[in-house]
Subunit: 210 residues, 2 copies
DNA sequence: ACTTTTGTTAACCAAACGGTTAAACCAATT
DNA sequence: AATTGGTTTAACCGTTTGGTTAACAAAAGT
C-alpha cells in the first residue's frame, strides 16, 4: 500500500469515526478520544489530518446535507404538480431517512446549537431565490386555480415535513412508548410513504365535481 | 426577609436559572458556571442547595413533563370520539407549546441522549396500561365501525404528533428558511390549531353517505 | 545504503470543568 | 453584645478535555 493511499485511507477512517460519534453524541457530547477509539487510531492523528474538533465536525455536518440538498432542489425546481412533487419528496426523503434514521436528530440538534452555521452553509450558497419560496408560490397558484383546497401554503408544507421527519426525531421515545424494536420501526416507516401520501391527498384534493 | 424565605427564594432562583440554561444548551452544553451567572449567584451555592449537575438537570427534565402528562392523560383516558380527543389534544398541546416553544427540542435531545431515563421516569410510573395503547385501540374500533377511514392507527397518531410538534423542533431552521421572526412564528402556530384539525378531519372522515 | 519525507505513537500541557473547602457574612436568639 | 446556625463567597482541587510535542517507524527518493 503506497503512501497516498494510506493517507486517504486513514483520513477517511477518521472522518467515518467522527461521523459516527458526532451523529450519536452531538458536538458537545462527542469526545476526540472516542473518535480516535472508534477509528482504532491514536488521538494525535486526528489533529495530524484535521485541524481540530470544529473542522472535523463541520465536515460531518455539511456531509449530512450533501445527499439531501441536490435531490430536494431538483424535485422542487423541476416540473410537476404540487401533489407530484410531494410524492417525489416523500419517496426521496423517506428513502434517505430509512437508510440514515438518526440524521434528522443530529441536524436539528446542531442547527439549534448554532442556527447561523446552517444559514451560512446552505442558504447563503443556494443558487438564486429562497429555496422553498417558489414551491410555496406554486401551492398558492394551484389553490387559486381550484386544483387543491385553499389553506395556508406554509401550513401544508409544515404538515408534510412534520409527518415525514418527526417519527425519526422522536424515534427513541416512540420505540419506548410502543415497545417497538428497530425492525418494526423500519417496517412502519416503509409503509408510511403511501400512507402519508394518501393522507395528504385526502386533506388537500377537492372532491371531484361530476 | 426571614431565613426560610431566602432559602426557598434562592433555591428557586437556582432552579429557574438551571431550567433556562439546560433548555437552551442541553445537559452536555450547559455549564454550572453559566447557571450561576444566570442566577446572579456564586457557583458554590448550586452545590449547597442541590447535590450536583445531574440532580439539577433531573429536576428540570421531570418538570418539562409535569404540565403535559396529566393533561394528556385526562384527555386520552376520558370520554369522547377520536376526533374529539384529537381536537382536545391539539388545543392542550399546541397551547402549551406556544407558551414554551423550546420544550420539545430539549425533551427530544435528552431522550435521545438517554432513552432509559425517559422510560424509568414516565413509563414505569404510569398508572396501569401503556398510555397510548388504549387510544390506538379506540382508533381501530372507530375504523372497524366505519366512523373513520381505515388506516394504520399508529400512522394516524404519528401524523397528528408530527404536525403538532415538528414545527417547534425545527423552528430555528424554519425561521431561517422563511425569514420568519418570533412574532410571525407565534402567529403561524396560533392559526395551526384549526388548520391541523381541518387537515386531519378531511384525511380521516369518510364522505357522508346521503 | 542512506537520507528525506510522511505517518504514527506515548507522553505531555494548559484550559475548562464539576465539585469542595474554609472563612466570612448576616439575621435571629439569648 | 455575644452566640448561634444557616447562607454566601473566593480560592482551591482533581479530573477531563482538546490540543501539542518530540521521538520513533516506515516508506520514498536518491
Amino acid at each position: 500500500m503506497d503512501k497516498s493511499s494510506t493517507e486517504t485511507s486513514t483520513r477517511e477512517h477518521i472522518l467515518e469515526a467522527a461521523r459516527k460519534v458526532f451523529i450519536r453524541d452531538g458536538f458537545h457530547g462527542a469526545r476526540m478520544q472516542d473518535i480516535a477509539n472508534a477509528a482504532g487510531l491514536n488521538k494525535a492523528l486526528l489533529h495530524y489530518y484535521y485541524k481540530n474538533k470544529e473542522t472535523l465536525f463541520e465536515l460531518v455536518f455539511n456531509d449530512a446535507f450533501s445527499e439531501f440538498i441536490p435531490k430536494i432542489h431538483s424535485i422542487f425546481m423541476g416540473p410537476g404538480s404540487v401533489l407530484e412533487k410531494t410524492e417525489a419528496y416523500l419517496e426521496a426523503h423517506l428513502g434517505l431517512l430509512i437508510k440514515k434514521p438518526d440524521l434528522p436528530m443530529f441536524v436539528m440538534t446542531e442547527i439549534h446549537r448554532d442556527p447561523e452555521r446552517f444559514f451560512a452553509n446552505f442558504l447563503g450558497r443556494m443558487p438564486g431565490e429562497p429555496p422553498f419560496e417558489r414551491f410555496l408560490q406554486q401551492i398558492a397558484d394551484e389553490m387559486r386555480d381550484g386544483k387543491i383546497r385553499t389553506m395556508n401554503p406554509r401550513d401544508l408544507w409544515i404538515n408534510v415535513m412534520g409527518m415525514t421527519i418527526f417519527p425519526f426525531i422522536s424515534r427513541p421515545m416512540l420505540q419506548k412508548l410502543t415497545l417497538m424494536n428497530d425492525r418494526e420501526f423500519k417496517d412502519l416507516m416503509l409503509q408510511r410513504k403511501n400512507s402519508i401520501l394518501e393522507f395528504i391527498r385526502l386533506a388537500i384534493l377537492l372532491p371531484e365535481k361530476n
